[in-house]
Amino acid sequence: MHSSLNWTSRLISRALRSSFSTLLETATGGGGGGAAAKSGTTKSGGSGAAAGCPRPRFVSVVCGFAKDNLRHKYKPGKYGEDSWFKASTESADVMGVADGVGGWRSYGIDPGEFSSFLMRTCERLVQCSHFNPKRPVNLLAYSYCELMEQKKPILGSSTACVLILNRETSTVHTANIGDSGFIVVRQGQVVHKSEEQQHYFNTPFQLSLPPPGHGPNVLSDSPESADTMSFPVRDGDVILIATDGVFDNVPEDLMLQVLSEVEGERDPVKLQMTANSLALMARTLSLNSEFLSPFALSARRNNIQARGGKPDDITVVLATVAM
């Protein structure tokens, strides 16, 4: 872990130093360009586009439930140990989720802290335009390195899934570590789907920062081990990013049914209703002890007699592509 961190830091420092020095070189005359500007969040990318070139954008909504509603007071950006973010700049729309690994609770570490920090930093990096719109892995890596620079020690681990829509080329680039994931639906069919990354059953790939001295004992994957995919999108595509609370409880055909209904939907209210129903569906199924959920099915494949849903935090980020 240490060596991969070295490598990542070197990569980042070189990249950022060169970009930072070009930012500093835009001197007094001539307004400095937009590169260093912290642009506000904008939904429409239409301004300044070349004539005839479609500028896609996401119409996105979020919904979710914490596993234990009583213990976790609602805080924006988190559902229990899960966390999510959405941000946009002139050149890209970015969304992501992260699922904190609950095992840290027994060591006195709050699992939600790591995932929340990861997502907040990604958001800040996007807003400062400190990222490459084609490489979501770099975004995750920068965010991970920022963790080291915090005065307050942050420990724990989480999975992560980040998705960037590049407005110029109308392509989506994704990076996924662990068992969160995304699904893309077009004309009633799943066209892209992420793969779950697991070391063993119920032990996903995870970015982690262990307590000092425990490094070798802790599972820690570097951002480079993320699964990346890039694909073009068309107007009306439905993209769902969710943590494993959804994928483990809602069977795929049911999800497909729900998602095909909102294809091409641009009204955020209707989209929100669908997201709500999907999250509620996941929650109800997770608390059902008889239903054969995808989690139960995969447990059986691993010779574990399981039945019913898997109670877990649920985060649903639902978006449609509008051109």
């Binding site: 930072f20 020095s21 005065k151 929100q272």
Partner: protein
């Protein structure tokens, strides 16, 4: 991530979050309204245009678009936590108060002259005067040049639109009260000081976030680049800045606007002059008791000047003939009693003038003058010109306080005078192209061979050939300071600097360099006493450097490795071989690695250690803390920020067993909770130690 941004992201038609509690929303909007009333609406998006449209252009409030330069920052430059880039844009954390990574704190080491006194963000490591008490403290060159409130750090920012500045607001979110000067860069390529702090301005403000907007000098200059100067000697802890706002009127046509304003100002002054004289003559003099003995005397005598037509002549007559008599008649000693009139005026004293003094005495007198006054004195007469250009007065030269007027011509002039130059400080000069590298090289070639101290911090004109010149010409250098020269690729060509063999102090704070070349320099300078490698970047193998130091530079007294990543336990063990070490700063080194017994060896073998900074060295265990208590007999300053395993017992242990301890930093140590603030205050009093801790604000 503040609730602020969340509110602004919401479009009215979209409810992105159905789980939002309605109570939280209501409170927030109420707070917004209240703040708007207080601060007049700085929550606007980006550049806000107010409705005041006169023929003079719009009134515009804008936030920083980019950072041109800064002297130091807490975070490392590829990060966005605690770095200067956080000043850009709208404030993210204000009005919250606390130590947040989304702000800009500063970390300068440029210590001031010792004055009697006790982020982020870009946090200043010179809060209070702790750095002047450390073994690595330096003395300012030509200290008489410095103003009363010296500048420790600065930041240069630029905005989007040119405006005539009416207000500059600085949003401080942690330990406010460090801003001392605000400069603006005009179209004429000159810097103007818009505001300067007085002693009373720096009286410690309340510990709360504040929007600091001092009254600026009235000006008609047009600017979009500002420089803010900071002084941290009064602060309790680091200061952090969240954002800077520039308010002013935009200009549609520069010339016509300036013309209009000038005309209007002339008219105003004329009206004032005409209005006042008649009023003065008719009013009786004020009896409010203000003024000195002469005014008091005039009042008791009911002396009233009458302005008649020939009033001027009468006044002249009075002054020439009767004034001396008047003064003698009414002697102005004490309470104004009329003393006995002197019969004769005292005889005039013998005529001795300043130039009758011996040359050496005059030289000594003039040596107390700052550079600006020295140049002015030279304009008085030929004699004074000869004295003021004597080379002994230019043995120490510092252009740092004159950074805004330093130019190639000034260097040329100084080159003629400074034939005995020993110490040179050109820090902060040359920004925006005022000093050319060629001129500097010429200066150095002419005058640099006897230089012992050279400081070129944040010099923008430095390029590789300048450094080469330094290496070739200045081989008598004892101190070389090249802070803040970070470029990519690193411009420091150490093979030339390897010519320097007598260095005792080398300061490479925030400067990039190649490891192998530094190593060759270390080998050459066996007498090295003070070394600063803070922020040297990720490409340096610190373990190799530590091994080299242990072999070749055993006389090292102070070593600063702040944020030097990739130092491991092996490096720490090498450092334990430096027995003369008195000051060691290992902040943010060693990352997550465990220290092994490196710290124990260090403490055993370096008994003279006075200052030890272990900020965020997360691998420090409880055993290490016990060792610190047992072996740190001479410790005066100890920083344990962000270390996980600190408990009350360990902290108490350290306080009891380190009798000379003066500063103990326990911020972000989660085990020492906020509720124990009183306990810490109690210990602070009992052991007479300044204890810093994180309060939850």
């Amino acid at each position: 991530m503040s609730l602020l941004a969340y509110a602004e992201d919401r479009d009215p038609g979209e409810s992105s979050d159905t789980e939002a509690e309605p109570d939280a929303l209501v409170d927030f909007t109420a707070m917004l309204r209240q703040r708007q009333r207080e601060y007049g609406g700085w929550f606007g998006c980006g550049s806000k245009m107010q409705a005041e449209q006169s023929d003079q252009g719009y009134y515009l409030e804008q936030y920083v678009l980019g950072v041109l330069d800064f002297s130091s920052q807490y975070g490392i430059d590829y990060s966005i936590s605690y770095t200067a880039a956080n000043v850009i844009g709208r404030p993210t954390k204000f009005p919250a108060y606390g130590d947040y990574p989304e702000t800009f704190p500063m970390v300068s080491r440029s210590g001031p002259c010792p004055t009697p006194f006790p982020f982020n963000s870009r946090p200043q490591r010179t809060y209070g005067d702790w750095w002047q008490r450390a073994p690595s403290a330096t003395r300012e060159i030509q200290a008489q040049n410095l103003p009363k409130l010296t500048t420790h750090d600065y930041i240069v920012v630029y905005f989007e639109e040119f405006v005539v500045p009416t207000e500059v607001a600085i949003f401080e979110t942690f330990n406010p009260g460090s801003v001392v000067r605000i400069w603006a860069y005009g179209l004429t390529k000159h810097w103007t000081c818009l505001w300067e702090a007085t002693e009373s301005d720096l009286a410690r403000p309340a510990l709360d976030s504040r929007r600091f907007a001092p009254a600026l000098k009235k000006t008609t200059m047009i600017t979009k680049t500002l420089r803010i100067d900071f002084n941290h000697s009064r602060l309790n802890y680091y200061t952090e800045i969240d954002a800077i706002m520039l308010c002013g009127r935009t200009v549609s046509k520069t010339q016509s606007l300036l013309g209009k304003q000038q005309k209007r100002m002339q008219q105003q002054t004329q009206r004032q002059v005409l209005a006042s004289p008649p009023a003065e003559a008719s009013d009786p003099p004020a009896t409010d008791g203000s003024g000195g003995p002469i005014s008091y005397k005039l009042r008791t005598l009911k002396f009233q000047p009458n302005c008649h037509e020939d009033g001027a002549t009468k006044l002249h007559d009075f002054i020439n003939n009767d004034l001396s008599q008047f003064l003698m008649d009414n002697s102005v000693k004490g309470g104004g009693d009329l003393g006995p009139p002197h019969p004769l005026p005292p005889p005039p004293p013998p005529q001795v003038c300043l130039t009758d003094l011996p040359f050496e005495i005059l030289l000594r007198i003039l040596s107390y003058l700052d550079l600006k006054s020295l140049f002015r004195v030279g304009q008085v007469s030929r004699t004074f010109y000869d004295i003021s250009t004597h080379p002994l007065l230019y043995a120490e030269l510092s252009l740092k306080p004159y950074w805004h007027v330093a130019s190639s011509e000034l260097l040329c002039t100084l080159a003629r005078r400074a034939t005995m130059l020993r110490k040179l400080d050109l820090s902060w000069c040359g920004g925006l192209g005022n000093v050319s590298p060629t001129e500097f090289k010429k200066f150095l070639t002419q005058r640099g061979d006897n230089l012992t101290h050279l400081r070129l911090n944040s010099c923008k004109f430095l390029n590789a050939s300048c450094i080469e010149n330094v290496g070739i010409v200045c081989d008598n250098l004892i101190e070389l300071s090249l802070r803040n020269c970070a470029t990519d690729p690193p411009l420091l060509n150490f093979s030339c600097l390897a010519n320097l063999k007598n260095l005792e102090r080398l300061d490479l704070f925030q400067t990039a360099f190649e490891t192998e070349l530094l190593l060759s320099m270390l080998e050459g300078n066996r007498k090295l006493k003070h070394l600063n490698l803070a922020f040297c970047g990720v490409s340096v193998n610190m373990d190799n450097v530590a091994a080299h130091l242990a072999t070749y530079n055993t006389q090292l007294i102070s070593l600063d490795l702040w944020k030097a990543h990739f130092l491991s336990a092996r490096g720490l063990q090498s450092l334990a071989r430096l027995h003369q070490l008195e000051e060691l700063d290992l902040g943010w080194c060693l990352r997550e690695a465990s220290l092994g017994d490196g710290l124990f060896q260090l403490l055993t073998n370096c008994p003279k250690l006075k200052k030890l900074f272990l900020s965020a060295v997360r691998g420090t265990t409880e055993r290490d803390l016990m060792h610190i208590a047992a072996l740190g007999k001479n410790l005066e300053q100890l920083d344990l920020m962000g270390i996980l395993n600190i408990t009350h017992e360990r902290a108490y242990d350290i306080l009891v067993h380190c009798p000379k301890l003066q500063l103990l930093d326990l911020s972000f140590c989660d085990n020492i909770m906020d509720r124990d603030f009183d306990l810490l205050a109690e210990w602070s009093r009992q052991f007479n130690v300044d204890i810093k801790s994180s309060r939850r604000y």
